[in-house]
Amino acid sequence: MPSEVMIRLDPKSRAAAKGLNDLTIRNLFIIPTIVFLIVFNIFPLLYSLGYSFTDFRASTNAPANFVGLQNYRDLLNDPFIWKNFSITAKYVLISVTGQVIVGFGLAMLLNRSIPAKGLITTLMLLPMMLSMAVVGLFWKLLYDPNFGIINYFLGLGKFEWLADPDMALYAIAIVDIWMWAPFVMLLSLAGLSAVPKHLYEAAEIDRAGSFYTFFRITLPLVAPILMIAIIFRTMEAFKTFDLAYVLSSQPNTELIAIRLYKMAFQEWQTGMSSAFAYIVLIMVVAITNIYVKYLNKVKAR
């Protein structure tokens, strides 16, 4: 029986003419989606939770033994894992901060009447439409110490961006900023253009300087949408894999996603890596929650 909540099919529609009713349409569209989600998302999620309590290795036929919380205990006591976490934290901080500053700055520049504004905006958005791996590969060429264009222009000689242990992480963050600052720009631009122009006029009449106007009017009014951009970018940066993997294979740039990949598919510690993945998941959910709480606070203001 179709429930009362369901919107009745318009009897004049083409679907109705073909003899379909609400129920068939529901089955046709909703059920495949739900089945797909269960098979490819929910089931693996639960199954890997089970694996995370075992010593299962996908590379052998040996049966999985239940080890309880042993995997979690080992992981959280492993100083190398903590190193991965601190590298990731540093990377997220640099990358997201950079993206917000560059993206918001670009949005401020674009938020005025300039010729060819639409074209410029579209061109600026191109980096984020490229594939991560492709971006990684051509930035590797740009960074190349022998023929890279970056060293040529900056006059840095044979400086090894991606091999230098202090610089490599920054180099990856720069690529991430280049690629994703446009995303922050796009959202900021939407936020900025939603600030009514007459508020700026009022601020001008009220004798507010440009800095005062920016910090007291512009920023608070754009904050909610900027916050959404930051949530998205933090989650993405947290799980960065391809960009860092393609660009550099240094221990100093080993982000958690790379460690996880190696653990799962090179060392075949399936049970251990499942536990690791769960730790990462909990962390991402926790961080996102903090942001969402803050976002709601900003919105309520």
Binding site: L199, E204, I205, A208
Partner: protein, 362 residues
């Protein structure tokens, strides 16, 4: 407190001239109302004084100092926007203190100023609320409070009551007047509502198509309109206008056999205009009589608007319909024969070509 002077102000938007040779002096402490139809240039003139709009040429002086090249922030004027323009993320208190904080006034002086202003405007109880939770009238009070709190040289208002409902408008109107009298600050006010303009203004400034039509006290403007536009714009119901012909001492409307008798001396100078003349009559300058009266012409009533305190009666006279103000219930219904006479001292004659008033103010 300041005198504002505009000298030969011109303003173009592209090819479109919105202010033409505007010359105007607003004396210290005056309440001046810019009034006109939309697109008449009144808001542009106000924004030019505020510094929100640059002018193409001319000078604007505040207290004798040329300010046309200064930014709004450096002119020390306050502005009340039609849309209120309150900062939505700040409380009422923060909104009102914003102009003081922007110039880094210290906290004790700030608090004192805010509390005083809030008291005058009766918004003390709303100080910690957000603008979005206020009624339209209170939002407007906050906007006015934000303008007054810094004791500006002049207070400019752009249709501040435009978005309020009519009852609240009337109330806010008298509050504005009271505030102006209490503060004595030079005020410039823009509205398209001539009744609002007349009730508030010391001086009315009537603008049409970017050209100044007349400056004067409300009475002056009403009784001695300089031209046909002013005559028709000011006053409600609108002044009656009729094409007429002058024959000796008589003025005849089109389609009517008998004319109205005027003073010889009044018509002597007008005779040369022959038919190139328009007669303007306020609704109260037309007299109705139920019985045949000497000098009156017979006509038929076509419509009656009973307004309580008085009635507006439409009377067909030849080709023209005149709107007449009578005491309420004077005419019982449509289609009634009445006799129409004129108070000739209140009649206006306008040149058909130049539209200038040929009598009284002329």
């Amino acid at each position: 407190m300041a005198q504002i002077k505009m000298i030969n102000v011109q303003k173009f938007f592209g090819q479109n001239q919105v202010l033409q040779d505007l010359n105007l002096t607003i004396e210290d402490g005056e309440f001046v109302v810019f009034v006109g139809q939309s697109g008449g240039g009144k808001t542009t003139a106000l924004r030019a004084i505020a510094g929100l709009e640059t002018i193409t040429s001319g000078k604007i002086l505040i207290d004798g100092v040329e300010v046309q090249d200064r930014k709004a922030a450096d002119r020390d004027i306050a502005f009340v926007f039609q849309s209120f323009s309150l900062y939505p993320h700040m409380t009422v208190r923060e909104n009102i203190t914003f102009p003081l904080r922007a110039v880094r006034m210290d906290k004790t002086a700030r608090d004192k100023a805010v509390n005083e202003t809030a008291e005058i405007l009766q918004i003390t109880e709303h100080l910690d609320r957000k603008p979005s939770s206020l009624s339209g009238g209170d939002m407007q009070r906050v906007a006015i409070g934000r303008a007054l709190v810094r004791r500006p040289q002049a207070l400019l208002m752009d249709e501040p009551l435009g978005v309020l409902d009519s009852k609240l408008r009337e109330q806010m109107r008298s509050e504005l007047k009271r505030l102006h009298i209490a503060r004595g600050s030079t005020s410039v006010y823009v509205t398209h509502d001539q009744i609002e303009a007349m009730s508030l203004a010391d001086q009315m400034v009537i603008l049409h198509d970017g050209v100044l039509q007349q400056v004067g006290a409300p009475d002056d403007v009403y009784l001695k309109p300089k031209n046909l536009f002013v005559a028709k714009f000011v006053g409600s119901p609108v002044m009656n206008v009729a094409d007429v012909q002058i024959n000796g001492s008589e003025v005849t409307m089109k389609g009517v056999d008998t004319g109205f008798t005027f003073d010889e001396s009044t018509l002597a100078s007008l005779a040369k205009y022959d038919t190139e003349i328009t007669l303007g009559l306020r609704p109260e300058a037309i007299l109705l009589s139920q019985a045949r009266t000497k000098g009156y012409t017979q006509a038929v009533t076509t419509n009656i608007e009973p307004l309580g305190s008085h009635d507006i009666v439409d009377v067909r006279l030849g080709d023209t319909v005149l709107r007449v103000r009578t005491e309420s219930g004077f005419v019982s219904g449509e289609g009634q024969p009445v006799w129409v006479g004129l108070d000739t001292t209140q009649a206006h004659f306008f040149d058909k070509k130049t539209e200038l008033n040929l009598r009284g103010a002329a």
